[in-house]
């Protein structure tokens, strides 16, 4: 729990480079790391994607199965997104119930997708008030190098875009699989989350783990293809000026558009 000399030295070095307009791994300040998306990595799941963002690696598997609707939500299916840091992803990860960082991660990723209305839950009803389709996007982190928010969000998005949905009908009051029918999961848009860190007076896109450990504060902004902002989460131990926030909004739209193309390409022809 103590800041080490190494931590201080790293932050000094990162700040010094940023003052010269450079980043520790040579990227431009508004440049995300290389994104690799492999869809259908888990063939037995209804949809899946293995995503590398720099050296951060995550896997999302989507399971689609009948479920009971939430009370007062009988005309809507269920979408739930979870995230877990596997203990092999970093020496500091502990097994056991999720800590607040992981709970925030899962909720921010879930909210970005949910608030964009990507998954059309109105099409996920088997019988109103009785049985609906549940879509579970479970994300696991396999290798950690910072910025899990975006890596997890991209994995979930790619897995959902390529998910195949079985068909169920009510038979004797029980949702029963209709053999041989599989449709695409109904999706309406492609949200993209962009996380930016503030280090000193600089804003950098897609911080790697060295930058993550050195940042003052961070913000994750999710945008849709129409250039709207649909979700946001500030974090970290310091604040932003209003101008910085506005700048981050603009950055998230610009960089988000590039990532969206990348996700579209990867999901094609799956």
């Amino acid at each position: 729990m103590t800041t080490t000399v190494i931590d201080d030295l790293r932050r000094s070095q990162i700040l010094e480079l940023l003052d010269q307009g450079k980043r520790i791994d040579g990227r431009a300040l508004d440049e995300p790391r290389k994104l690799t998306v492999e869809v259908d990595a888990i063939p037995k799941a209804n949809g899946s994607a293995r995503v590398r963002l720099g050296d951060t690696e995550v896997i999302c598997g989507v399971k689609i199965q009948p479920d009971r609707p939430f009370p007062d939500m009988g005309d809507k299916g269920i979408f739930i997104c979870t995230a877990e840091l596997l203990p092999l992803s970093h020496p500091s990860v502990e097994t056991g119930p999720p800590n607040p960082d992981v709970i925030e991660l899962a909720r921010v990723v879930d909210r970005g997708i949910r608030e964009s209305h990507m998954v059309d839950v109105s099409q996920l009803v088997i019988e109103k008030n009785k049985s609906v389709v549940g879509v579970f996007a479970d994300i696991v982190v396999v290798d950690y190098d910072g910025n899990l928010f975006d890596a997890c969000s991209y994995a979930a998005t790619a897995a959902l875009l390529t998910s195949k949905m079985p068909k169920w009908e009510m038979k004797d009051d029980v949702p029963t699989l209709v053999e041989g029918i599989e449709l695409d999961l109904p999706t309406t848009t492609i949200p993209v989350s962009i996380t930016m860190a503030k280090i000193g007076n600089h804003i950098v896109v897609d911080p790697n783990s060295d930058e993550w450990d050195s940042m003052d504060s961070r913000i994750t902004i999710t945008t849709d293809p129409d250039g709207n902002i649909v979700a946001m989460q500030k974090g970290g131990n310091d604040g932003f000026t209003i101008d910085e926030i506005i700048k981050c909004g603009d950055l998230s739209i610009k960089v988000g558009a590039q990532i969206r193309e990348n996700l579209k390409q990867a999901s094609k022809g799956s």
Binding site: M1, T2, T3, P100, D101, I103, E104, A106, R107, R111, E115, S217, I219, D224, G227, N228, I229, V230, A231, M232, Q233, K234, G235, G236, N237, D238, G239, F240, T241, I242, I245, I246, G249, D250, I253
Partner: protein
């Protein structure tokens, strides 16, 4: 809660909202510093129908020891809702939502609290939501700042908090429960007026870049209104009613 019309008019032709407010008008806010006997500092806020009590303990020893930091104090925040605070009785176990809000409020307070003055110790902020309404995290954050000040914890600034949002295609201040349910966007903002820093910012909804900008600015204006009430609460306790301590 029954009896409410589904054809709620969120904003009428005169720019009046469903609860009678103007677009840039916050709900009724009442802040009181102090109130609890045992806590080192405390505050109570009513913000719309929110009723929130905050108690602060510290700086105090940390158990277990390895959780402490030899260079600085640590801040711990628990945002907790009573079972009776919401329409349907809340399960007493802490929800994931409460855990996230605790973290978000902690990170909103951290830039304000001079923890480096208290190495190896902890400051604990316990937020109890007695009755919840729209914007409870903003109300909680505002009250927590006052409770920290009441506990005598040195602070760079108070963090004031208020939400802005989009309702009926219009950016409005301080979204209430009905507006949040039926509205288009809700953006809680936490702000330190002296230091001009946003320390809490979240968004659910859909905003164009222009709306986004306006929404941030509207939220900050709301924070400035709250800030005056926070200062008044502390003044009332420490200067008007000195004998009351």
């Amino acid at each position: 809660m029954g009896g409410r019309e589904s054809t709620l008019v969120l904003l009428d032709e005169k720019g009046i909202r469903c609860d009678g407010r103007k677009v840039d008008e916050p709900r009724r806010i009442m802040i009181k510093a102090g109130g609890l006997k045992n806590a080192d500092g405390s505050a109570y806020i009513e913000f719309g129908d929110n009723k929130i009590l905050v108690g602060v303990y510290g700086p105090r020893d940390v158990h277990p020891k390895h959780m402490s930091n030899t260079d600085t104090g640590i801040l711990r925040v628990r945002y907790h809702m009573e079972p009776f605070s919401v329409s349907e009785r809340k399960n007493p176990a802490p929800s994931r939502r409460e855990i996230e809000i605790s973290k978000v409020i902690k990170e909103a307070l951290l830039p304000a609290v001079m923890l480096e003055k208290f190495p190896r110790t902890a400051v604990d902020v316990f937020i109890e939501v007695l009755q919840a309404d729209g914007g409870s995290r903003c109300a909680a954050l505002s009250a927590a700042s006052v409770a920290l000040a009441d506990a005598g914890i040195p602070m760079r600034d108070l963090v004031a908090s208020c939400a802005a949002g989009k309702v009926a295609d219009t950016i409005v201040l301080d979204v209430n429960n009905e507006e949040d349910q039926a509205g288009q966007a809700d953006m809680p903002v936490g702000y330190m007026p002296q230091l001009k820093k946003i320390t809490l910012l979240q968004l659910d909804g859909v905003l164009s870049p222009e709306e986004f900008k306006k929404c941030v600015e509207t939220g900050v204006k709301g924070c400035e209104i709250v800030y005056e009430l926070q200062k008044k609460a502390l003044t009332d306790k420490y200067f008007q009613n000195r004998g009351d301590q």
